[in-house]
Amino acid sequence: MQLAGLGSLVAGAAGTRRFHAAAQEPGDVLTSHAGHAMGTVGRVSTDRFNPTTYLRSWNFSHLPPGERARFYRETPRPDGSLLREYDFFAVDRELEIAPGVFFPAWTYNGQVPAPTIRATEGDRIRVNFLNQGSHPHSIHFHGWHPPEMDGAFASQQVLPGQRFTYEFDAEPFGLHLFHCHTVPLKRHLHKGLYGAFIIDPKAGRPSADELVMVMNGFDTNFDADNEVYAVNTIANFYAHDPIRVTVGRLVRIYLVNVTEFDLVNSLHLHGMFFDVYRTGTSLVRHDHTDTVMLCQGERAILETTFRYPGEFMFHAHQSEFAELGWMGTFLAEAGPHAT
């Protein structure tokens, strides 16, 4: 099915809503059109990992305060910045990446993508890393840091059962990522060892509804080709559970591409345009578009404001990725201040 088909899915969903009562539940976009039957069958359990929670979580904010303190601590420094201290561990864990499909992942803290690290420019980052996995691992951060904190060289691999503490200043502001840098790289990356690393400018960015989206893929049969594509791991998750946003409120998407095996990935948002800040290192927008393409390891901050209420599809504009799970929807609802 081509993208015209995807478009008609949305048209179908919208059409349905027009003819039925307004109180209808947000449509399950994959099944709402009788003529099309694309997408995965069934639902993934969110007991271990909930992509909706992940969207708006950073620095372990999804945990209750007591538990959060075990993984994340803030200490003010004399210059007014913060020392942000994180406890990360690598662990092998089986993840349900599409309904009924279980992937033997390597994870940071039991989830893929890893918990998001977020700091302000000039903060000090300290990550205590314990490797509880079955293979050597490391954490390689994108951003300024001295070479001994790089985690890429053979001498910097953390063997199973061992620890290492990464410490560096959070620079420059922008959207970065971290990932394991142990060889074989492709395997250590696509098995799930990656996460988003946000550094806010000192003055901050305008207030917005902020969402973290990591475009990833899973090679479930290990033939160097992905069987499942997704944003935030679970195929078609946001097609079943739309991302709820408010009409008229600024939405900021922190978009990271860690897809392995495919050269590029992309995000296309229906019925909308957005500003693109490549790598987020400048406050001046690079582009105003509805489709952005990112290479492996590349990332961008996208900003937009929903103008109309209703459901908006978003997906990779590589139709193949979209049809293999990288497709979801936003549900824009009228906000309290909307006119």
């Binding site: 997408g39 599409a98 009924g100 479930t220 499942v228 195929a235």
Partner: protein, 410 residues
């Protein structure tokens, strides 16, 4: 011997028989105990560390194309249970329903209904993703609607069977008057030609059978099934031939031989019909007309093979007169199975049955060849007979005719 002594001996015999039975049962009981122990303790589990995925093997046996989409028949061919988690069509996840379910035990089947808008004449690929992420796929090389059993397709397949099976064989039979006027070396040439034709068919069927057995799910042990089904068919036909020979000795061995050849060729044509029907069902009959012409030419020679032994003088006496009714019967036995095969192949094609029928055809043909050779060489050593000029020429001509007409089938 006193009566009591005799009964004592009988009792002793009875006891001995009882003991013998007990002893025969003991290994069976021990075997059952051994299996129970293996099942209970699972000694191989220690070789399979935790986290190693199960051995998963799925075979997509058949994909039907309906206006609503695909209907795939899936078999769990591996030792461990398999759970079908998702279905991809042409690299897109697609909705599906599974009957009776997605969890398949060893050798269990499921029918998957996938409402995919397939495109006529184009290729598609169905891929199953299991719970461990392992994938199994099957290609649909040319998408055409699978024929449904109905008056129209029954008619079409009957017509094709008629064209490639019944009519060509009947045409071949029409050479009978000519054949019956031939002299000794002419008959030898013709019988040798028949053997050449049959051997060619046999080699062809063996090659096809081995290819098919390779494609069959491993659990069905295709190669062994093929070889032993062929052997069984050979033995069954040999027994049939012997009993027919006894009953119909008055009718002359030529008629019996012709009947056996007709049965052998009929079984072979049944397999051929299966292949044609299946090719049609699988959308491979875009080049259908050439295929039908090729089979028609090919099979005309089979009619000749049936009549050749009728013309052979039986011992010292001249060949017995053959009635038109006998010829028609022989023609139907040889040709009509093509129609039945085409129906079966088109509507309920199963690679396992196709393999069995191919094997039966091979066994039947082998038996016929042995039978003809036996009758031809009654008084001569086989080697000298085969190298005599008319026989060698006939064999060669048989191979060449089959090869040339086979080129058309491709």
């Amino acid at each position: 011997m006193p009566r009591s002594a005799a009964s004592a001996v009988a009792a002793a015999d009875g006891r001995r028989a009882y003991h013998a039975w007990l002893l025969a049962l003991l290994p069976v009981l021990l075997l059952a105990a051994l299996i129970a122990v293996i099942v209970r303790t699972g000694p191989t589990a220690s070789l399979r560390p935790a986290g190693v995925p199960p051995v998963e093997r799925l075979s997509i046996l058949r994909v039907e194309l309906t206006p609503e989409g695909f209907v795939a028949t899936v078999l769990n061919d591996g030792p461990d249970p398999v759970s079908i988690a998702q279905v991809q069509v042409d690299e897109a996840y697609w909705r599906f329903t599974a009957d009776p379910g997605t969890e398949l035990r060893h050798l269990q089947r499921a029918t998957l209904r996938i409402p995919y808008p397939w495109v006529e004449g184009e290729a598609h690929k169905v891929k199953l993703v299991t719970s461990t992420g392992t994938t199994f796929e099957r290609e649909i090389p040319v998408a055409v609607a699978t024929p449904r059993p109905g008056v129209r397709y029954f008619g079409v397949f009957a017509l094709i069977g008629l064209y490639v099976g019944v009519i060509p064989v009947a045409i071949g039979l029409l050479w009978f008057p000519l054949v019956s006027r031939l002299g000794r070396s002419g008959i030898d040439f013709l019988l040798a030609l028949t053997i050449g034709l049959l051997l060619f068919l046999m080699v062809d069927a063996v090659a096809e059978g081995l290819e098919l057995s390779g494609a069959l799910p491993g659990s069905f042990q295709g190669t062994s099934l093929f070889v032993f089904a062929a052997a069984a068919a050979y033995l069954a036909l040999a027994a049939l031939g012997a009993s027919l020979g006894r009953r119909r000795s008055a009718a002359g061995s030529g008629v019996v031989l012709a009947l056996l050849i007709a049965v052998g060729i009929g079984l072979h044509n049944f397999g051929e019909g299966l292949a044609i029907g299946a090719a049609f069902a699988l959308g491979q009959t875009i080049l259908g007309n050439l295929l039908v012409i090729g089979f028609a030419l090919h099979n005309t020679t089979e009619g000749l093979a049936i009549v050749a032994p009728l013309a052979r003088a039986d011992g010292e006496s001249p060949p017995a007169p053959v009635s038109l009714g006998t010829l028609v019967r022989l023609g139907l036995i040889g040709g009509a199975p093509t129609i039945a095969g085409a129906w079966l192949g088109g509507f309920v094609y199963s690679p396992i049955w196709a393999l069995v029928f191919l094997a039966v055809g091979v066994g039947a043909i082998a038996q016929v060849v042995v039978q003809i050779l036996g009758q031809m060489t009654r008084e001569e050593p086989l080697g000298r007979y085969l190298t005599s000029r008319p026989v060698a020429a006939g064999l060669l001509a048989g191979f060449i005719v089959m090869y040339a007409t086979g080129l058309l089938i491709g």
